[in-house]
Symmetry: C2
Subunit: 136 residues, 2 copies
Amino acid sequence: MAEQHELRDKGLRLTPQRELVLSAVRSLGHATPEEVAERVRQTHPGINLSTVYRNLETLENVGLVQHTHLGHGGATYHAAEEMTHLHLVCGKCGSVGDAPIDAAANFVQNLADDYGFKTDVTHFAIYGTCAACVEK
Amino acid sequence: MAEQHELRDKGLRLTPQRELVLSAVRSLGHATPEEVAERVRQTHPGINLSTVYRNLETLENVGLVQHTHLGHGGATYHAAEEMTHLHLVCGKCGSVGDAPIDAAANFVQNLADDYGFKTDVTHFAIYGTCAACVEK
DNA sequence: CGCTACTTGCGAAGACCTCGCAGAAAGTGC
DNA sequence: GCACTTTCTGCGAGGTCTTCGCAAGTAGCG
């Protein structure tokens, strides 16, 4: 796993802040910069919000995390390993559900064939109403 | 078409600003509040940004326009009549292409069947790379 | 151990959106 | 056509979220 080296391998320095931001994103699944900062503060109270923003950006540049806009204002970040499923955002309760990429395979193929549009499935936010809210 | 009455019918007053905001959204297809304001200023220079925001909100409440988040920061608005197609947002050039809803019919059905998730196709932004940028 | 380049913390600045208020205007009845 | 009530507009203040510049700190390397 060589956890220690994955950042170095990308040409980045190994600072406590950087590691914490990355592990926060991984453990949270998907989170806003604010939430990441909050998580990091549990073990490193002095971290600055700017640092979180900058590290998220840096980590995104080397492909370890990625961001999406799940509907409302801010961006949410998730780890690259997490990108194997779609995000189903519920407009009513705000929850974020998951579905395997396969569910969209057909659709993606359609768009590629008919419009030459190469859908980025990993950067995919789907808006609608979740099962729980539909019942209400 | 009784253009004059569609606002009145919804219980709204017929102000020049309101009409202009609505027609700006319609002629722009999809636009940010800022872009709407700019368009309106062509015929009504004095309009205030707050007024644009408030009218967009009001028009959304009565169902004449709707907003989506097409990826980056701000919301974009479009007329209700325009909601018969999907929006294909290109991450490279930022263009917004269209595709008929049918292209997603399969996909929507999948999600409904397998996850009970009721996808809101009209509020749907799809991220990827457009044909033009794929070639580059 | 010392040097260089990259990072952090901090405060300021900027973008974007919302809110409250007073004056103006639309719609209504006479 | 006129006065009245209610809604809307313009304006400025206030908030939130994000970015930026700078000086001090520290990781990595010989």
